[in-house]
């Protein structure tokens, strides 16, 4: 252990200068993925911003001050053509719900985190489907299932990227 601590790469490296803002910046970057020039006839791609958002929140309880969820959600709404206010409300509610869940759970492991993420992603898809129906696009929910399955399968990748970014920002 001591030898590892004396490894020359480790000494003198602290958190990077903007460590406090890195998590929020990565969420905005993920929302901006909506500007990729992908022209798809099916909405099967995941909600990248939300994936990274819950990835950070499941990794740490305080990646950003809780109220930042609202402006981050607004950015996501603007870039992804969701009805404005959808991600604002959903992301704030996610912060609140995960805090309540944190009080109840006795232990956490990868499986529990994945199940939690799956539940939140399902709520996300379900609400998008409901809102689409409200504005006149009432589709059967089965059309949302492929996109939900893809999002759940992609979550571990998002969580891995988030944890690597976390190690980088803290200089570990």
């Amino acid at each position: 252990m001591v030898r590892a601590a004396l490894d020359s790469r480790q000494i003198g490296r602290g958190p990077s200068a903007f460590a406090a803002y890195v998590p929020a910046a990565t969420v905005v970057a993920a929302s901006l993925l909506a500007a990729l020039p992908i022209v798809s006839n099916s909405g099967w791609y995941p909600d990248f911003g939300y994936l990274v958002f819950i990835g950070w929140r499941l990794l740490r309880s305080d990646p950003w001050p809780a109220w930042w969820a609202a402006p981050l959600g607004l950015v996501n709404d603007l870039f992804t053509s969701y009805p404005i206010g959808f991600s604002v409300a959903l992301w704030s509610a996610t912060m609140l719900a995960l805090d309540l869940i944190d009080r109840r759970t006795m232990w956490r492991d990868y499986w529990i985190e994945w199940v939690l993420a799956a539940v939140f992603l399902a709520i996300d898809e379900w609400m998008q489907w409901q809102l689409a129906a409200v504005v006149g696009a009432d589709l059967p929910f089965t059309t949302q299932l492929p996109s939900l399955v893809i999002a759940i399968l992609v979550f571990p990748l998002a969580a891995w990227i988030v944890s690597r970014t976390d190690r980088w920002r803290l200089g570990r």
Binding site: W67, L74, I84, W91, L96, R103, A137, S147
Partner: protein, 291 residues
Amino acid sequence: MAAARPGWSRRAQYGLFFSLLAVIAGIVVGLVLLAMSLVAPKTFDGIRGAALDITGPIASALHEVTATANGLVGGAGNYWDAARQNAELKRENKAMLQRMVEAKAIVQENRQLKATLQLRERTENVIAVGRIVGSSFNSPRRFAILSVGAKDGVQIGMPVRSPDGLVGRVIDAGILASRVLLVSDRANIVPARLLRGGIPVISQGRGDGTIDVRPLEVGRNPFKRGDIIITSGTGGLYPPLVPIARVVKLDDDGAVALPLADPANTSFALVQPSYEPAAVAAETAPAQDAP
């Protein structure tokens, strides 16, 4: 924030409490904004347009790169299969020549008929020509991002078509880019008719890149596989006689059709003025679709 008591520090306790209030405020603000964007979608036209001006140019620039890469791959593929393609093209060319002569004769006849009827042709001018550079690939709605905006004269409500057929209509217009509601979106209902026989039908997207077509009059299913659906111009939003889709599958009381203008492969999209602006203003004002 809603975690267990952080200890005896009053400061820490208040901090947690206020952050809890802030999150609840965030939820409330979000719900209010959401209600506004559902009830009065025009409220956010400005801010949506501004966001489009950020993402539109990024998508345009990236689109150039992917289009070049795709072109290289596709070009190589064409060389690979050149002999067979050549034979096929020759055969098609011969068939087309015959059809062209027939069409020319029909055009001539049509002109004479119109002259006798004293019909005045409506000028089909084009407001702007853009490329489809992005889409709503992570949503149940079907939108596309077009690389032209208010700077080029694009306004909300204008129909968009490609040389192949109808693409949709503009629902958000930024200065540099605009968002198009595709014909394959569930909320996009286009008054149409069958090219064969002119039976009036309604076309409605299915959200997965295909279109539902239903006859206006209940009764016998008038569709056949391969039928072409064209716009009827009813309602004044879309110009008439623009091809929309080709029927690929019949079901109980209608059919499933595939749009002729595939947004993924459409190189250019033309923005046209609203067919009958007065009618459109009256019709779309209350029923403007929220994105």
